[in-house]
């Protein structure tokens, strides 16, 4: 029995503001709690708030274990009346935003701090991989333990076989992002990357080569969700939320992932925002591997399925180009700080739309699209989400 989804309410009156990034480090001896605290400290300092003024907290972290958000309230001395823990990896940022926005809209909380943070000890990555999920333990890790590199190698290989994408196409995405990262002070990879460098890099899991892979690191990202009138009263530069979507475990019958859940909800995304793909001034995709960015171009409606390679060939993806993409360099240049990787694009979008970019500012950026993707439980990423944001000017 098919049911018509009910009409979505708008996010009018709610905004996101105060983008915070704690500069990443390749390895850290500090705990996840330390990185979370740094982000919250910086957020409250900028707002001129005391920690006790925060009445909502949304937390995403892989390495906070055995603690979850509740343990962190006592650890950090917070007493929120609204608390969320979002274990969705690369989908964490947008999902945190949409949940916090509804809480604020309904009056369940007024000031919700959203934080994505992870540490990276020397052996964290291997341990995270071997115990990431039950299916990973039973059916992926024992198969050469290649981690996400191997999983995305299979997805990339299949995409190349099906749609004729080449390494040069993926390379163009990576090279453009690196150009965007060159001016970002805290990007871990700031050396200019050429297409030749990209093509000549050492193979990791064919067809994935070194510059297709993100570098796991420690870091934290955060932002604040509050009522628009509060932000105006305090003089906080902010962005409005035009639309959001979220979907999990879509297209489970596709033998191998060639599309994400965005494709289910994309029409609703644009309809709710009441804008068209042409209206968007920049796009922040989740770029754990460039093939996933290409899927997002397609599934979010910038081009049709299988047209990703042509789309990339016909656009300049740098901040000055025809399709500014991953404007701070994305995870491929900045690093992947665990769940903070799911916040990176959103925090950058808030900066671009409030004219406070740390690197190159996209000219006249008024509308941006942010997309998230997370949780490769077995053979594919399960969570997808996206949001269209607008500057307040």
């Amino acid at each position: 029995m098919a049911r018509q989804p009910s009409a979505r309410r708008s996010y009018d009156g709610v905004v996101a503001c105060q983008p915070v990034t704690i500069p990443y480090r390749r390895y850290s001896t500090e705990s996840a709690a330390w990185w979370i605290a740094r982000a919250l400290h910086e957020l409250t300092r900028r707002c001129g708030l005391r920690p006790s003024d925060l009445d909502g907290l949304s937390l995403s972290s892989f390495t906070a274990g055995p603690d979850t958000a509740i343990g962190l309230t006592q650890h950090l001395g917070l007493s929120p009346r609204w608390l969320d823990h979002i274990p969705l990896g690369g989908a964490s940022g947008v999902v945190a935003l949409r949940r916090a926005a509804r809480a604020v809209q309904a009056g369940d909380a007024d000031l919700v701090a959203c934080v994505g943070a992870d540490t990276n000890h020397v052996d964290s990555f291997r341990k995270t991989l071997s115990t990431f999920s039950r299916f990973a333990q039973d059916a992926v890790y024992p198969y050469a333990a290649g981690g996400p590199n191997a999983s995305f190698a299979l997805i990339t290989r299949n995409y190349m076989n099906c749609y004729g994408a080449t390494r040069e196409d993926f390379g163009k995405i990576c090279v453009a992002q690196r150009d965007n990262a060159l001016a970002v002070p805290h990007a871990l990879m700031k050396r200019k990357l050429t297409l030749d460098d990209y093509l000549a890099a050492r193979p990791i899991a064919d067809p994935i080569h070194l510059f297709d892979c993100v570098m796991p690191c420690a870091g934290a990202e955060a932002f604040l969700v509050c009522r628009e009138e509060a932000a105006r009263a305090e003089g906080w530069a902010h962005v409005r939320i035009l639309a959001t979507i979220e979907r999990h475990n879509a297209f489970a019958d596709d033998p191998i992932q060639v599309r994400g859940g965005w494709a289910v909800d994309v029409d609703e995304l644009w309809a709710m925002a009441d804008v068209r793909p042409d209206d968007v001034d920049f796009v922040e995709t989740y770029d754990d591997y460039p093939v996933i960015s290409m899927l997002q171009f397609e599934d979010l409606g910038f081009c049709g399925k299988g047209e990703g390679p042509d789309f990339v060939r016909s656009h300049d993806l740098t901040n000055d180009g025809s399709f500014p993409h991953n404007t701070s360099g994305g995870q491929l240049s900045v690093g992947q700080a665990g769940a903070a990787g799911g916040y990176l694009g959103l925090v950058e979008a808030i900066r671009q739309l409030t004219g406070t970019a740390l690197g190159d500012q996209v000219r006249n950026a008024r509308i941006g699209l942010v997309s998230g993707f997370g949780m490769i439980n077995y053979d594919r990423g399960l969570s997808s989400c996206a949001s269209i944001l607008a500057g307040s000017a």
């Binding site: 990555f125 291997r126 991989l129 071997s130 039950r134 299916f135 333990q137 039973d138 059916a139 992926v140 890790y141 024992p142 198969y143 050469a144 333990a145 290649g146 981690g147 590199n149 191997a150 190698a153 299979l154 997805i155 290989r157 299949n158 076989n161 050492r202 193979p203 990791i204 899991a205 064919d206 067809p207 994935i208 489970a252 033998p255 191998i256 077995y378 053979d379």
Partner: protein
Amino acid sequence: VSTPLARPKRKNPLARTRLPLLPAGARSRTAHGLTRAAAEGRFALQVCADCGHVCYPPRDACTRCLSVRLPFKDIDPSGRLIAETTVRVSTDPYFRERMPWRVGTVKLDAGPVIIAHLHGDTIEGEPVKLVLKLDKSGSAVMLALPAQETPDMQADPVWREMTCDPRYRRVLVSDGRNAVGQAMARAFSEAGASIVFVGVADPWKPFPGQAELAGIARVEIVPLDVTDTESVNELAAQNGGRVDIVVNTAEHVRPGGIIARGNLAVAREEMDVRYFGMMRLAQAFGPVLRLRGADGASSACAFVNLLSVHALMNWPAFGASSAAEAACLSAAQCLRAELRSGGVKVLNAFFGPLETEWFQSVPPPKLAPAALAKAVVAALQDGVEDVFVGDIAQDIRERLNSNPKALERELGSQ
């Protein structure tokens, strides 16, 4: 096409022996349903008892109807390799020293999508056949093979890593005085073992088949008496580092139940030959087998127990003997856990009455020693852990699975 296996070069005695590492062996309890199938060389997946949906990875509810009735069933292993990758960088120490390593995505005709190890002869886009194998950790993994057999398939390094093929390995058969020991020697020689050491106690005492045994290619007779600790230790000291597969053929079969025996004399003897004999072999050869579990393409790989199927359910006509076999089975389970850290398998071959003098009064069907030997070699080539050889062993196993109490009564009235 696989490159035929080359005879391994002599090992440099000064070179360090590579220590065994294991791939990750942790599995959920449900996933050990695959281990159970792999141990016997079957291919089984969960099939929903309510809607027939085939599920993978192992799980606790059907993705089509949410039923929790998901038994493992043997199913058609055919599928297609839809994408492959060659992993060159791994976080896992075991795979790091075996890079590069191919894995791929297989779409099974029965439905599920399975990430699998790839045999070297598989081709992307082509049909494949999946098999379940026990990897060095002892847990089940999926291996994709070409749909049709290819020449020298068994020489593939991935295949060899998951099996115990005797080819170019050195084998110790513990007792060559009996028919089973002699059949084993012949079978291992024919399977391409580079040396078959055959233990003979009291070599000055002639025995039937002696000349034929000595005439088998690559057989080397060695003095060995499994009831004599010194003899076992001495052989291990001399040749322990040159033995890759131990096959315990020492037998002691006498009729009679517990009361029927009337005293402990024979029982002590059978425990000494069977249970303590196995223990002596394991204590003398186990440590070096375990240490040499990753010693090149012809590493140490298996300890083979030949067990009466009545280890699983007592046959009172041979009741005391069955009890000794049960002790050996229990010890084999222990040995399996102890050898696993070296990636060395324990193969238990279960069989019913043999065509030998000790079962002279038992009616057929009976198993020829040569058939047992052939089955043991095949089981090692397949890398299985438990094999039931012959009609009686298969029959007992099925009856045991369906109603152990009925089997107890049935064997008690034979």
